[in-house]
């Protein structure tokens, strides 16, 4: 049995007497179990002063590349660790491990998103240090991860310019949940028709409070404002 949650083995035994009525009232949130684990994770993060950020995007927008560059820029200023979520492989964890920060890979198999329970387990393996920054790279998917709270301080959506400026309208739930949108691969702007102002306008329609940064993880353009955002958010946490 798992020490973190006792998963699978401890059911609540509720003696509802079905012979009284064939209708059983339930009134239960279907994602309530995920929410309970997320709350548990959040309490852990608060208690240890850990700033946790949940990075979400479609596959290949540059999450891992941006993380690697961010770690290189910041690892001497604050402790950083990473949880990598992918359906298969530990390729991303290997890329992070090359920067010499602690990393744990979660393979979700068929599931298209991370859930709070898996994060809880990963935390006991990772043991992030007090007052550190923990990045969670979610499974590449602009739909499902938005619905699953992991206990993070903030959700960050990364949108690369090759995906098109209309994505905030097409995947509104993701942009509604995010505190920050990072427009990545801006080095490719000359080659694609991506209207940055239009994209930001769409995102703010869905979420008037969303912050926006523009980066190129390969040329490092915009990396400084992003690192500033991180340090500021970390200091405020």
């Amino acid at each position: 049995m798992c020490g973190y949650c006792g998963c699978g083995h401890e059911h609540k035994h509720e003696h509802d007497h079905a012979h009284d009525s064939r209708i059983m009232q339930i009134e239960q949130d279907i994602l309530g179990e995920n929410q309970r684990f997320a709350d548990q994770n959040r309490a852990y993060f608060t208690q240890h002063g850990i700033l946790t950020l949940n990075l979400m995007s479609s596959p290949g927008s540059g999450k891992t590349t941006l993380l690697v560059e961010t770690i290189r820029a910041l690892k001497h200023r604050c402790a950083i660790s990473v949880i990598e979520g992918d359906q298969q492989t530990d390729l991303d964890a290997q890329r992070i491990a090359a920067t010499a920060v602690p990393v744990v890979q979660i393979n979700t198999g068929k599931a298209c998103h991370l859930n709070a329970h898996r994060i809880g387990h990963a935390l006991s393996d990772l043991a992030p240090s007090n007052n550190s920054v923990l990045f969670i790279e979610n499974v590449g998917n602009l739909v499902c991860p938005a619905l699953f709270d992991l206990g993070e301080k903030a959700k960050i959506v990364i949108l690369s310019v090759t995906e098109g400026d209309d994505k905030p309208l097409k995947y509104p739930h993701m942009f509604a949940e995010a505190s920050l949108m990072i427009i990545n691969k801006i080095d490719l702007l000359p080659y694609v028709s991506f209207n940055v102002a239009q994209c930001i306008e769409y995102a703010r329609r869905i979420n008037p409070h969303i912050a926006v940064l523009q980066t190129s993880a390969t040329t490092q353009q915009g990396l400084l404002p992003w690192c500033d955002w991180l340090l500021k958010t970390h200091a405020a946490a």
Binding site: H13, E14, C112, H113, F148
Partner: protein, 115 residues
């Protein structure tokens, strides 16, 4: 497709509820859900996924009754409550998006019929 995962969670909740029920329950006939229009859930995908998730449970032939919860928001410009059909719906009065959602994110199982 998170709807399948949601149906798996749903079946787990139902099984927890009937575990040890007296007299023992042999089958779940109907399950009632309440799903908000703004919850990010596709109802067709739920209907498609439910039988797959339920295949090896007492709910395997159950009927799914889904009640939708309308979306509603408080507009900060107008200081009024307005109906919001989706996250792309502007305030019906001022045409802006400066609002806070107050209702429509429900994803609940409300009751079931057993025998």
């Amino acid at each position: 497709m998170h709807e399948l995962n949601i149906c798996v969670n749903l079946i787990r909740i139902l099984e927890d509820k009937i575990y040890n029920a007296l007299p023992p329950i042999t089958r779940i006939k109907t399950v009632w859900l309440e799903i908000g229009q703004l919850a990010g859930i596709d109802l067709d995908a739920i209907r498609f996924s439910f039988p797959i998730a339920a295949a090896h449970s007492l709910a395997k032939d159950a009927t799914l009754e889904i009640k939708t919860q309308a979306g509603s928001a408080h507009c900060h410009n107008c200081d009024k409550n307005v109906t919001i059909a989706s996250l792309l719906t502007p305030c019906a009065i001022c045409g802006q998006y400066n609002y806070t959602i107050t209702l429509g994110k429900a994803l609940r199982v409300t009751k079931m019929e057993t025998e």
